[in-house]
Symmetry: C2
DNA sequence: TTGAAAGCGCTAACAA
DNA sequence: TTGTTAGCGCTTTCAA
């Protein structure tokens, strides 16, 4: 790719304004050491010329970095696109650029993306998406991020990671509990769970919440069928087939994500099984289409966009002694996919 | 934000490898002018040290730029997140970073984002999202992009824009035609259209396709109610209320986007109106949830992810004499939301 | 308050 | 094939 060069340099502005390079630099950066009069004049000239500073030169010379790297599993996934939307919104307010990479939920690829972001000298790195239960999975990423922080970079993560960094912690356990309690309160005892990859902390936490509620409800957790799959609609669909086959007595299904819940609903519809009359379905996340499914999906809302905003806001603050941790809220949203246990 | 500095410089690698800066640079950039033996050695040393080049220094020194700027309306919108996914996928293969900005469908904000991207010295700018019917809306953006191209930058756009650049042209007109013809073939004569902002070329084109089909079908276009709103689910919902009130005889609704079609379905469900038995609904885009709505949505598929991939692929080729233009395909996807006109 | 000059880390001419 | 050197455009000491 050929280099892109805008003829306009700070030197041009300085010359036209009749000041030195240094003065022009100070004026435009809003630093002090310049009289208001001169500063204003320089800014006017720059504006007139349509001057925009070369970020590369600025960063290289030791100026501040104005880009934030965001690592998501896959931007096409609504969970992540909503987080990204929040990050970009806050970034836009501060004139920061957001660079987005796909990790593909692969620790190795995640590490490579982190390397690339560091090479681009981002000042902030946000790792969105679940952490891994096994600390070793992210060992290399952790080392890279620690070095990055040591050199002044700021890091924040969304989710429970084995990384030493400010963290936005989705209420995964509480959300799982909430979903399960909702079903229990409707009288369901034959509950099945469509789960995700059990290498992920998100899965661990959501399951823990569900398990706790189940046990407090007087049921035995190990009696509950838990089908591990991946976080996709199709996996939800297949897992449902399996549940219908192996556990026909099931009256309620919890899907660990809305994406999977959509697959669950599809499978049930294909089988002509009435929701919620015969089987209730509850998801987690509350992606924006959840309300528009038929039946509309009962789910537990996690504020994805707000999580993205918060992650960047935390990273914009100076590093604290110990990593900050902020929990998000969660909220059970009861819609039409859940109902009382069938009397049959 | 403090600067982020990795102590490791090319000079360190060169020294440790026992070669000059220039040789090290050549070796790592994969340029020739170095013996394979030396090159390999340098690369090994660099790898061992965990060296990653400073992009800013590299770009400033006249090397190639490795970032692409992508302007979308809003990344939380599935249409754009799928496009972005395609762009990021291709970028990942080539070690390019993708910077994403929101235009908010506001020409002024779009211009500012373009400025910012140019300041960051991206080598490629991709403008996704509809163009504006009024060329003046994008006049400033156009000027900025033209200057950018003149200095070696590459630009590609998705949609019909008044910009001189390589373009991926969604089959908007054909898609509109296809949707309308489908309804006509089912016998519908009382068709209403839920449209978007008529400042957008996307709206103009989709409506043109629909109008053409309608007229060829023997109907009078001006008799068809066209409700202009915005491209959102809620607008689709409200427009439907209006259609039910003002045009109760309607047997089919075309929504210009799936997002709006989702709102249409919601409104009809709220009114207890059977789809497709009393009213058929067809959307455009085929966002991924379209298949999972109930009833599943008949729509016309535009390959969003492929469009994103294509846009970047075009921009990666050297600029041609005249702007390239590539049409995307489109495909009618018949699902359960459309059926024959009610016999009543 | 202002200006001159020394880099930031790299690439790319130019020499050897 | 390799090395030397002059910048790229900016920020930031250090002097004035």
């Amino acid at each position: 790719m050929p280099r892109s060069r805008s003829a306009l340099r700070l030197a041009d502005v300085a010359e036209l304004a009749g000041v030195s390079l240094a003065t022009a630099s100070r004026a435009l950066a809003g630093r002090d050491g310049v009289s208001d009069k001169v500063a204003e004049h320089v800014r006017q000239v720059a504006n007139q010329l349509g001057y925009v500073a070369n970020m590369h030169a600025r960063t290289l010379a030791g100026g501040s970095t104005s880009t934030v790297g965001l690592i998501v599993h896959e931007i096409g996934d609504p969970y992540f696109s909503e987080i990204a939307s929040g990050v970009i919104r806050v970034a836009g307010e501060r004139d920061l650029m957001v660079q987005i990479c796909h990790s593909g939920r692969d620790p190795e690829k995640e590490f490579r993306q982190i390397q690339t972001i560091i090479a681009h000298r981002a000042g902030i790195i946000i790792v969105a998406g679940s952490g891994y239960c096994d600390p070793r999975a992210q060992a290399r990423s952790k080392a890279a991020l620690t070095a990055f922080q040591a050199s002044g970079g700021r890091v924040s993560v969304i989710g429970r990671h084995h990384l030493t960094a400010d963290a936005v912690l989705p209420d995964n356990e509480a959300a799982g509990r909430s979903a399960a309690e909702h079903l229990l309160s409707l009288g369901h005892r034959r509950i099945a769970v469509v789960s995700g990859p059990d290498s992920l902390t998100t899965v661990e936490d959501r399951l823990a919440g569900i398990a706790g509620a189940i046990q407090r409800g007087g049921l035995t957790w190990s009696d509950i069928p838990v089908i591990p799959t991946s976080f996709t609609r199709d996996s939800g669909l297949q897992a449902t087939e399996q549940i219908l086959r192996d556990h026909p007595e099931t009256t309620a299904i919890i899907a660990l994500t809305d994406a999977m819940a959509i697959g669950v609903l599809s499978a049930l519809r294909a089988h002509g099984i009435a929701v919620p009359d015969r089987i209730s379905v509850v998801g987690l996340d509350d992606v924006s289409v959840a309300a528009d499914l038929a039946p509309s999906l009962t789910t537990v809302r996690l504020p994805m966009a707000a999580m993205g905003e918060l992650a960047l806001a935390m990273a914009l603050k100076p590093q604290s002694q110990r990593p900050r941790r902020k929990s998000t809220g969660h909220q059970l949203v009861v819609r039409d996919s859940t109902g009382p246990v069938p009397s049959g």
